[in-house]
Symmetry: C2
Subunit: 244 residues, 2 copies
Amino acid sequence: MIDLYYWPSIPGRGEYVRLVLEAGGLAYRDVARLGEDEGGGLEAMFAFLQGRRGAPVPFAPPFLVDGDLVVSQTALCCAHAAAKGGLLPEREADRTFALSIALTGEDFVREIHDTHHPIAVSLTYENQRPEAARRASDFRDNRLPKFLIWYENLIENNEDAAGWLVGPRMTYVDLGLYQTCRGLAHAFPNAFDRAMGEAPQVGALCRAVAAHPAIAAYRESPRALPFTDGIFRHYDELDPPSAA
Amino acid sequence: MIDLYYWPSIPGRGEYVRLVLEAGGLAYRDVARLGEDEGGGLEAMFAFLQGRRGAPVPFAPPFLVDGDLVVSQTALCCAHAAAKGGLLPEREADRTFALSIALTGEDFVREIHDTHHPIAVSLTYENQRPEAARRASDFRDNRLPKFLIWYENLIENNEDAAGWLVGPRMTYVDLGLYQTCRGLAHAFPNAFDRAMGEAPQVGALCRAVAAHPAIAAYRESPRALPFTDGIFRHYDELDPPSAA
């Protein structure tokens, strides 16, 4: 049994880990979403973050507790679950590159988050709207296409020619790209649609992940939370219908 | 021989990798700083980033090329060099936690960078000064102390009680913390000095790293570049002398 610790009310970064746990068919507990009578709740998460469970102390959620191992940072949690669930690439060089893809994906997610929080995570969106408008404009015009074209080229240049980012079959980094694209379709439907015109293989990859039986079943389950006020947020004013 | 690829004119993120290579006593070439007659220069780096050297294609520097392996993302480059240079922790649980420390350090570095570039990396600082002032204020008051106290607690709670972040001896994550503190002392001398009042063990760790013979020799060498306009930049207006 693997314990996942993450904020209980948003998909957020925890969702990247959940998808790997689900696709890998692993038994896990989503601790902060359990009741306190089951040893869960936010208090159980804070006990770790405040050091009351001893070393090592993660800086922030998500983190996994698997026996004696505490794994923090989203990409490492995903790689750990992937190793247990058969979702790592087989070749060592591919595994190394997959982890760098997962980390670059984290950079992308952070940039997406910062479009609505460019100044401080401790302030609301309403307290940084002009700055968000400037940052989102640069994101739509420069960063979003740059990341999506990089992913498109990885699929295009995959020597196994299988439609995935690395190697001949679906791995955890494909799950990550799928989740990021879901989030972008929610947050920036107009800009994402324009950028995806240049990334048809990213689109095909996302459809293939969505059709994976374990992922399709998860999406229909009550375990899957809707996007609300986490990383991926939609504000009309940050996503105009046409590129001016 | 390991090839490091990074921008030739700034310490930047490449410096984290260089410190591990230097402390590990590894033979390496700093490719973009070599002449084109030695197979170096920026052109050699762009050949990789534009896919002309084939897969895998990193998203951005720094990256390492070591035989058939291409390693990108700063923390992974550091971990790779550390494995070769004897600077990884010995216990598996410590290695896992060390990599999460390295990645959290990357988050910290990104937040430091964004104090002078909160809107877009493609714009100059002068084009985002009001936003930088707001972001730097939150960084000085909230984020800087939060990260430094987390590091302080890691050292404090290290079961080996040795003054390092993980385990009984210096590892690559100690080198990373040292470099980040050097950068902070350059960029935010006033705020850093105030925050370090609460983090005496971080200070002691940094002095111990600086006294390491290979690091001390490196600092005196022409290979070590001064801070200029990379991640760590000093602007008087972003670092007032007293906490108002």
